[in-house]
Symmetry: C2
Subunit: 283 residues, 2 copies
Amino acid sequence: MEFWFTEHHTPGVNFSIKVDRQLFSAQSEIQRIDIFESKDFGRFLAMDGNMMLTEKDEFIYHEMIVHVPMAVHPNVKKVLVIGAGDGGVIRELARYETIEHIDMVEQDELVVEVCKKYLPVTACCLDDKRVEIIYQDELKFVRNCHNEYDLIIVDSTDPFGPAEGLFTKEFYGSCEKALKEDGIMVNQHESAFYNDDAIMMQRIHKRIVESFPISKVYQAHIPTYHSGYWLFGFASKKYHPIKDFSSTRWNARGLHTKYYNTQLHVGAFALPNYIEELLRDVE
Amino acid sequence: MEFWFTEHHTPGVNFSIKVDRQLFSAQSEIQRIDIFESKDFGRFLAMDGNMMLTEKDEFIYHEMIVHVPMAVHPNVKKVLVIGAGDGGVIRELARYETIEHIDMVEQDELVVEVCKKYLPVTACCLDDKRVEIIYQDELKFVRNCHNEYDLIIVDSTDPFGPAEGLFTKEFYGSCEKALKEDGIMVNQHESAFYNDDAIMMQRIHKRIVESFPISKVYQAHIPTYHSGYWLFGFASKKYHPIKDFSSTRWNARGLHTKYYNTQLHVGAFALPNYIEELLRDVE
């Protein structure tokens, strides 16, 4: 039997994973949710047919979206996580004993339920005592926050469908207000290799640049995402991602990571010229 | 009509590009050679069914395999290029006026012919006056070279089939002897994300480490190669890729590049922990 999951990275580029079994499939009020089992990537989660995470490479995304800002901000106590129902961001945050409280706002309760059941390695820390899960529209939630968080992590799905509102100027403006005066927002900034992706990424970047005084972009290799190359946005009111980053402070925490390290932290902000040009076009 | 080229990155992972037309197909004495035309990647070259290069992303590979060593060695005059029949490495080398002579040793004359005809942007400089193309078995050629080159670039196909000999300890030893006392060898070091690829990469790395006093690895995102993540080996008798690298000297050359820059040079050597561990295992 040949049983394949295929994602169209463009109408003319497919990435396919041979599937052993489909473990779960349902339509929530918000989106279609599927869990598959495969030899090469272990279990993986797709939402509306788009690859969200695989057991084999999710460490890259989750380490990079969490440890980069955590190595810059010297004193993160209160965090807001947007989306992230799979629990990967929470798992990495939970390793910091100095974090006191995490609000996680997720639209879709079923995502959390399904991930707890089928992706326990990713969802392991969703019951951490410091975590409060709020099932609500993220945009509405953030609109009512003021000067409250040290760090906001926007772990959204793609900028079409249910998460569209999380890529608007209004949303980034609300995040800026929700942060304390030295707060940092990190977001998944999409890919930029294929032309349509690059246009989308530029649109996101422009809006963040308009909302924050410091707005930089960093990169990681994530094999299951478009072109295997993914960007993250680092937006900040005060801290610069390199000048205010302390490798000594982060290394003293003694966290073991599989992707992130403090040399790579600096390297991640050294972007190829073609990406720098795309960013400059909208800055 | 649906017309797709598919490469198996593992038996359970496929990468597929929608093809407009097949422009060329032949079996040389050494390998099967195909040229396709596609919307997303322009023209692309496959050898024995393996993706070699596409017009859209070849700049990444060729810039990274050439400009990294050229920014480290202060005085490259004579270069040996192994393989590279598509001409991409020669194109990037030809931009350095200070290079006096390039020997290019390629097994398969048909590759050069086909690339000149179908991939003119890549093959543009194969007729440069400083370039001598030698159609010969690369292993035999290098065996007879002593203390001759400042730089050797090993732009081979994968370590099975026709290029197998270019991944042996004997070959790396011959390259070491063919280099002057301050010479550098750079090679394509394969990918390391999928398990079988990682084992292969470790085998290559072990052999290079045994042949050179300085042996480092650097990375680039190449969308059409396995997992979109590719490694290069930097092996050297004297120069360290970071300590002996001069950004001022390279930037003074005024070369315009689409991927490489001198910040990225340093960042490319900042590898993820999981790669560092694979390398340490065999060092």
